[in-house]
Assembly symmetry: C2
Homo-oligomer: 330 residues x 2
Amino acid sequence: MTAPARRPTIKDVARGAGVSFQTVSRAINGKAEIDPETRRRVLEVARRIGYRPSRHARALVAPAVDTIGVIVPDMVNPFYPALIQGLIDAAAAHDWRVVVTTSDGRPEAEARLVTAMSGQVDALIGYFNQNGPLTSGDHDDIALVRLDLEGPVLAGGGVRIEVEAGVSAAVDHLIQRGSRRPVMIDCSSTCDRVLRRESFLASTARHGLDVGEDRVVMAEQTVAGGEAAAAVLLDRHPDVDAFFAFNDLVAVGALRALQVRGLQIPDDCAVVGFDGIPLGELVTPSLTSVRLDTHRLGVLAVDQAARLLAGHGDVEPAALSCELIVRDSS
Amino acid sequence: MTAPARRPTIKDVARGAGVSFQTVSRAINGKAEIDPETRRRVLEVARRIGYRPSRHARALVAPAVDTIGVIVPDMVNPFYPALIQGLIDAAAAHDWRVVVTTSDGRPEAEARLVTAMSGQVDALIGYFNQNGPLTSGDHDDIALVRLDLEGPVLAGGGVRIEVEAGVSAAVDHLIQRGSRRPVMIDCSSTCDRVLRRESFLASTARHGLDVGEDRVVMAEQTVAGGEAAAAVLLDRHPDVDAFFAFNDLVAVGALRALQVRGLQIPDDCAVVGFDGIPLGELVTPSLTSVRLDTHRLGVLAVDQAARLLAGHGDVEPAALSCELIVRDSS
DNA sequence: TTGTAGGCGTTATCAC
DNA sequence: GTGATAACGCCTACAA
């Protein structure tokens, strides 16, 4: 914290204008009961000496929710900026500000940020890499909305993304277009999100396919990570006919790995990602993906925060469905 | 603003613990002068009734800069999330929070956000589409750091990106690899940034090339916009041998337009973008670009804000150089 | 129309 | 070790 140059207060203005600080308040806030000439003079003085009302003092007198904090792993995966835009838009509807921080996905940073931000904002919305509780669950914790919910909500609120249906649709699609030897690039080694893999395995099993453990490899959540993992899978199973990826970023990596080997997409091998980020439309071939509506996710999350703030205790988590977008990679 | 459920105050804790609110303050803030047993009891009560100190009341007693606001056009162009990450990192070094808003590039929204945010944050960092002043320039305006500076700083602080050198390097590179009939996809119809075009025209002229007005077309700042503009240019000048684009997003559009026509990149026609976003490495062929160091940009911007906050009056704008990154598209 | 008093939640200062 | 008291900057009554 840097100490700012001492700011002029309402009293400085009052002194300068030769009125009581009360009159200044009236002028500043555009109240009716004031002589237009007096107001003009007061505003003139305020402008001249550089007076701006203290938001803290105002908030003290008229308490109101005004700021929510957002914690995401990073800004590299375009999914997060898209989510943040959704949150900003939804928050604007409440006239709430949005404070953004990134955790780099490190569990200790996530916990630290929750603690640090708790005192700075009225509610917290987070997409965390870890599943465990980030608050004590006690009554004194900040209103926390988790967007990483895969099971029952721990405490506070949350949004549960209906991964199963989306992944199921993706697998159905792959099978239908002829895939019999699908593999998955997973990232649950870097985070606690296991539902995508579980859904993938359940869906393929439902189709009578036995996707063994050696057909799922872990990757960093980057394009390079996806490319490396895809290369491993291609070495291990040269006959692979479909990639299902943890997210679009690693899916793009898979595209590259396939292209490096001169394989045709989707004829030789199809690729399906997850998230539905705009990048998927820009790569060649364009990427089939299970899309999340980030705008709606923002609305749901802010709504959860509002409920948490309004009522007492936890709230029922919201649900967000996702949708398979078929493009050229499958 | 939604009225929150009334939060417990320090006095509620005091009452519950049977001590003065002063003692509670000591316990909460970990002061030394307090009986360990008393502290334990106080903290226990605080936890039980859900007490959290008011940041506003604290800020009132101990004034400190703690929040800066950021205004960018959108989160769609990956340049802005990258910039925001840089700002968050730089702000963290000061223990400052970052409030993020988007203006959608609309001038009236930009002006409105500057006004609205002024009361909510200690300083403002913005990348605006318009060149005009966004504050009155009076002493009472908020500390404003502009990252869109193309001329002398208007008021407050700012960072001036040394576009000329970057574009000059790009043009030199294009000429050197044989281009004689370059064109430009510009976006200064959607914003007041004209330096990229001016630099392009100056640089080509320096090489004895006469790039007429019909060799520069305007585009929306999107991939689709770039693709459309490139198509227009290709129709108009089938012999074009190089595209210089306002930014990487429209440059990617140009790549697509060329590929649609079956032209070889860079042999038939080269493409150079601006910004150096990671997306440039993901497209095929990878994109040559004039890269900005967003992390450093964040550091410079926050530093400008700190100076503005510390001193009185305006500060000398900082300068950020940019660097040509040659990839496969040229 | 204008000014005075009280209080918002917190911390620092000074007694006890 | 603990507790009053003042002060932070502002706003909403209420009084003049």
